[in-house]
Amino acid sequence: MEIKMKNIKKISALLLCLMLVFGSVLPVCAADQTEEKPTWALSEDQSTLSYGATVYQRVEIPSGVWFRPYSLYTFNRNMDTPFDEYTEVAHPIADQSAEQPAPLTDVAFLYGSVSAEGLYAVYATDSGKSIINDFNAGKYAQYELGSHYSSSVLDPQTVTRWRNTEPNVTIFAEQLSDAAYHYVLGYDATLSLAKPIGVIFAYSDQYLYVQGEQCLDIDGYLSLRPGTMTVHLLDEADAAQVKAAISDMEYHDYVDVGEQSEPLDPTISMIVFLLIASPVMFLLPALLLALGIVMRCLKQIPGKKRWNTVIILSSVWLIGSGITALLLIIPTFFL
């Protein structure tokens, strides 16, 4: 009786210790899961976009603006918005070659697809509003020559000179109807919004700059009005610069460097891989090993020794699969 009581006490003490150990360890394991990541949220009146503690206010942009980001870090592809179409929230990143998400910038975009027509709204923090205000006021951070699909950078001083110089040639608009042309685009500091401010025409081996007011419609596309236009005939130096810009044009490849969706846990990836590969890694060598053993043991089969090679190789295959499986899974717990 006394021995039984002692054993019961020992077992109870052991159980209590184990409960204390697990009780202290389990919250540590759960700690990461309690930390919630912020998500994008749009207010009902669409005036505010928030990401955790960061709040963006909607800012108006003028008509005729093209959404032409060089690079985006895209969040929340499945955002629920009042718009009928599929929308995404994204912000531009400073380093186009960055593979990791950059810190949040002061400007965010709500858009349905990476195209001019897809931009629904621009949101900015208080400090981001100055970027948009400068853009709206016509203070551009970069000028480019191009179209929707390709462009190249222009010298800002040259473009400023074109904008400020009085036109010196009068021409009928019909004369330029078949001429090759490229838009002169003014970009904001995030290099995501572009406004066509003028057009360069190639006419009779010369280049003409036409102000946007004379040849662009409300959406920023070319629309020549019948009648005369006053245009700026580019001199030799500017013409050479335009020619070089045309030959340097590169297609716009939008760099979408991220998504909100979490990458699959590497441990789960490896487990799924091993599940798919398990018939080849484990089942097949086991069957071949069995085959080798059976053929080795059968009396009617001559040349039993040649099946030793099969047995050895199948065993190596099976053991190697086990080691490989451990090599693939175990390190993922520590990374």
């Binding site: 071949l288 040649r306 295959w317 699969s321 990374l335």
Partner: protein, 301 residues
């Protein structure tokens, strides 16, 4: 005895193969020059158009002629590669069939050599020629790519429009020593898979030739066709999709592991080595069944 058998099996096919390989290499050199000329002409045309100037008629004629010759060289190179590689495989299989299952086979089996020895000497000789053909084909392809790169480099202003750096990256080591080791293991894996497929072909030929007394050649060809195109295709189809899914998840997992590169490379080496062992095992099992069938074949004239 095995070494002697192997020596004679290698010598028997050597003359034909060496002539074919020499012709292939000469064709590769000629076609590479033609291909380089074609690329040079194409690049020059693109550069001229990019500069906005119009080429004169003589330039156009020269460019068009070089383009036509270049296209012809490209087609000749592709076809000759296919014929060379296919021809080698077919010659190896024909030699195996004639040595064992025709009138020559009667003499072959009267030799004081075990059938397993005879089989392995032919199998290894066939593998050596197949591997050597692969090396010649690779040299031809690299020569063609090299000529394209040289042509682009020699064309003024072509570098701006054509991905020369991406082409030259083929010739640079992949990720240092680790990448080179992985590449060598991958080459060994390809060799092991070729070995296994050759053993499969030998087994098919042996079974067809020993099971069908009449119309042996037809039964061999039909069996070869059935196994390679009807049975193997669904297996390869399912295997490819399975492999794609498996590799997708493997890549996701390895991406994180590359935080410690040694670990990731060890995993890659382990998988490649596993593949080599698997292919060799399957090949040896198929070879054993082939030898078993050969040993049971009665040597009747």
């Amino acid at each position: 005895m095995f070494k002697k058998c192997l020596k004679y099996d290698l010598k028997a096919f050597a003359k034909i193969w060496l002539i074919a390989a020499a012709v292939m290499l000469v064709l590769s050199v000629v076609c590479s020059i033609g291909l380089g000329s074609f690329i040079n002409a194409t690049a020059s045309m693109a550069v001229i158009e990019g500069q906005g100037s119009e080429p004169d008629s003589l330039q156009i004629m020269s460019l068009v002629a070089r383009m036509c010759i270049g296209m012809l060289c490209y087609i000749v190179l592709i076809y000759s590669l296919v014929i060379f590689l296919g021809g080698t495989s077919i010659m190896v299989l024909i030699r195996y069939y004639t040595k064992f299952f025709t009138d020559q086979g009667y003499l072959t089996f009267t030799l004081p050599v075990r059938r397993s020895t005879q089989f392995w000497s032919k199998a290894i000789a066939g593998f050596v020629y197949t591997a050597a053909s692969g090396v010649v084909a690779l040299i031809s392809i690299l020569m063609a790519i090299g000529s394209v790169i040289i042509a682009l480099v020699m064309t003024p202003n072509a570098a701006e429009s054509f991905p020369i750096e991406e082409l030259t990256s083929i010739f640079t080591p992949v990720n240092g020593v680790c990448g080179v080791i992985a590449l060598l293991l991958a080459i060994l894996l390809i060799a092991a898979i070729v070995f296994a497929s050759m053993m499969m072909n030998y087994l098919v030929i042996t079974l067809a030739a020993t099971m069908f007394r009449k119309l042996k050649i037809l039964s061999v060809i039909v069996s070869y066709y059935v196994v390679n195109n009807i049975i193997a295709v669904p297996i390869i189809y399912v295997g490819t999709y399975g492999l794609m899914f498996a590799l997708m998840f493997l890549a996701m997992g390895l991406e994180t592991m590359f935080a410690v590169p040694v670990l990731a490379w060890l995993c890659i080496y382990a998988l490649l080595l596993l593949g080599i062992v698997a292919a060799v095992t399957v090949g040896i099992i198929l070879a054993n069944f082939t030898v078993l069938r050969l040993e049971r074949k009665l040597n009747l004239a």
